[in-house]
Symmetry: C3
Subunit: 299 residues, 3 copies
């Protein structure tokens, strides 16, 4: 495997191999892991800003001893009319080993991977409303730390599923790992046309006996098509709090990709409560991205 | 000690220990010091821009072999409504060892240190009008290079003392090191309500027989409350030049935290003259910040 | 040699020595070259944006194990009224070994080199319409890879020669290496007042039997003095395509400093065709900049 643009490229065995790699990186001294990809270079091309994801990739690359360059896209030739293909081939000629790309258009990274072939790796750090495979990987890895057998879990994903590449990659990943009990819940306008997940009728059906609850960020800029009134009452109808979390199992874990709108999709009591694994997700993000870089780039 | 948000956290012994550490770093090969904190990471969160201070911290961290990440705050979730606490805990979950924070609100870093406890170090790179402890450290270290016994010195600090965190940390540091002969001079509106320093009546009283003269930058955006006319004649009344410098001792040193307004608070002849140690301050800034990072982060 | 602000500082022997150094870097493992300048620091001060050139220098420095800091000029004191001289001396006091400067005013780097003397190296990454010596070096190195003896070549350079520092450095470099058969072609308004190159009457005279064809980027912001109509028909009169390239030798190579305006100064068929060495130029840029850094900074 040379590129990762869609989590569906991976089968269960490959996913589990990446999880084991992350386990190994976690227990290896940084001074040791810094030798693993020393002398290799990763370049980040973020056409959409995300300091959080960029930092996570930077730390993941540095942990393996890689050089890391984040391009200032706002000032690059890419914004002055140069095509993405020319930008990519130019940077590739500088001998970068990996391109970590975030882009507002679906499938940009798949196209980039096709252009570059085996010359350099492309990693998708989010494409439009389609995929965010490294977020999917870290979510799955976090669930695995707490819940072992994926096929026996009930997972509830609540929020704007339709526009969420986070949800897209997670639903696909759960399906690959044999889970047939993934539920999604949102206003009808924010549900995807097709999905391997089951659609819940209400919060109670989604949350009841859930082992894992994943709350999605409301991205106000992406959901212009729904009523302001629905947004105003979002927490009452689609938010997680101490009351409705009781429908889930006692040992259910609560996840959120961040950054959170506290009091909107999730109450502070739950976000900071004992069932929350939100900061573990962040920590695991660095580990999983290191694992992926190592998998794609080690000789 | 885990954090440094206020120079008053340090006693004389601790200050002298930091100075000795800086001495040691100065005389040790960079290829050697790069092993001291290899594998550790510092993140800079500058909510106020300062390329100069940021560079100084970056070089200080790299000199010890640390990875250094400067967050693009303008594009971060912190600016999109995420609370500073959530931003900090998120970055902390990525396993940063130190957070170097510059913020326009007083006491932000003290609060951050309280939140993080012993999970990671917080270093204050300037908070509002309160403290800039690493600037204080480098100023004291520079004085020590030239003047040894702090208790025997007359120090004059001239300019906008009230809004200057540089002056705040320096006055405190001198007091801790046993100096009772620190004088400040400014228009009444720019003097602090309370201080351990003595207030001079005029330039002559402040400068006469001084061993150390510290000129502060006029920050026009911060001093809206004083008359334009006072600003227009600033150099005549509060500026240092070859004439009034003669009131000080022959071997007095002249300091300025930079960047300078030449011809306003200081004349070019003095800034570039034989008594100026302004560029030594810059060099010492990197050394003292390395010393501090080592003190806070070495196992 | 301590600085490089103008390719005319170098004689043929020195140029060939730099080419040999680049050859050596190309065939040496990165884990080895990373030891060559470990512990040294380069700072980039780009007063004009160029992500491409900045990346190239960053990768070149990292390949030799250097620390690399790119200053955020837009937020630096330099933009708040501090003089370039004060900015430079401040950064120099932080013990940077090299300053890589891009500036819109001609001769800025020569002045900077004069100020710094032997305290630190200055490398010109482009000054106004004057010189871009590292681009000249990589262009010459690329020609040398394909064409060996410079004195026997016909070289055609086409486009806005007058405002092109790329052309300036290349014409000078070819002259130093003994080439007397360098031709330039452009509308009269875009020809330089004096040059060592020959002026062609038309595309045919420029291209006929050429061994090397260099197409320059049309920088619309720089050529306000020529008619819009000339620009509209640029490709017809001054563009390279499969038809007029036939006038050149069968084994002629085609060069462009990038980023390209496809369909304007060069057709896509030629840019992506078998004679194009445009991506080799990019790759060689990193190598030549490494060679230069090593030449200027190794003890």
């Amino acid at each position: 495997m040379k590129h990762l643009y869609d989590i569906k490229q991976l089968n269960a065995e490959q996913l589990n191999h990446l999880f084991s790699l992350a386990d190994k990186i976690k227990t290896t001294a940084v001074t040791e892991t810094k030798k693993w990809l020393a002398g290799k270079t990763a370049m980040a091309l973020f056409f959409e800003n995300s300091t959080r994801t960029l930092m996570s990739f930077q730390l993941a690359a540095q942990r393996l001893g890689m050089d890391f360059c984040a391009l200032n896209i706002a000032h690059s030739s890419a914004q002055k009319g140069e095509t993405l293909k020319d930008t990519l081939f130019t940077l590739n000629a500088m001998q970068s080993d990996a391109f970590i790309i975030r882009h507002s258009e679906n499938h940009t990274q798949k196209q980039a991977a096709k252009w570059l072939g085996d010359q350099a790796s492309v990693i998708n750090a989010g494409d439009g409303t389609n995929q965010h495979p490294t977020q999917g990987l870290l979510d799955l890895y976090t669930i695995r730390e707490h819940k072992k057998d994926f096929s026996q879990l009930k997972v509830a994903i609540i929020g704007d599923i339709k526009h969420s590449r986070v949800a897209g990659s997670l639903v696909d990943g759960l399906h690959i790992l044999g889970n047939n009990n993934t539920w999604i819940y949102a206003p009808d306008e924010l549900l995807p046309a097709s999905t391997t997940a089951r659609k819940a009728e209400n919060m109670k059906q989604a949350l009841s006996d859930a082992d894992v609850v994943v709350m999605l960020r409301i991205q106000k800029e992406r959901i212009s098509q729904i009523d302001a009134e629905v947004l105003d009452h979002w927490h009452d109808n689609y938010g997680l709090n101490e009351n409705n979390l009781e429908w889930a199992k006692k040992d259910a874990i609560v996840m959120h990709p961040g950054p959170m709108n506290r009091g909107v999709e999730i109450s502070s009591a739950v976000a900071d409560g004992p069932q929350s694994v939100i900061l573990e997700q962040v920590r695991n993000g660095v580990l999983m991205r290191s694992a992926l870089l190592y998998q794609l780039l080690s000789d």
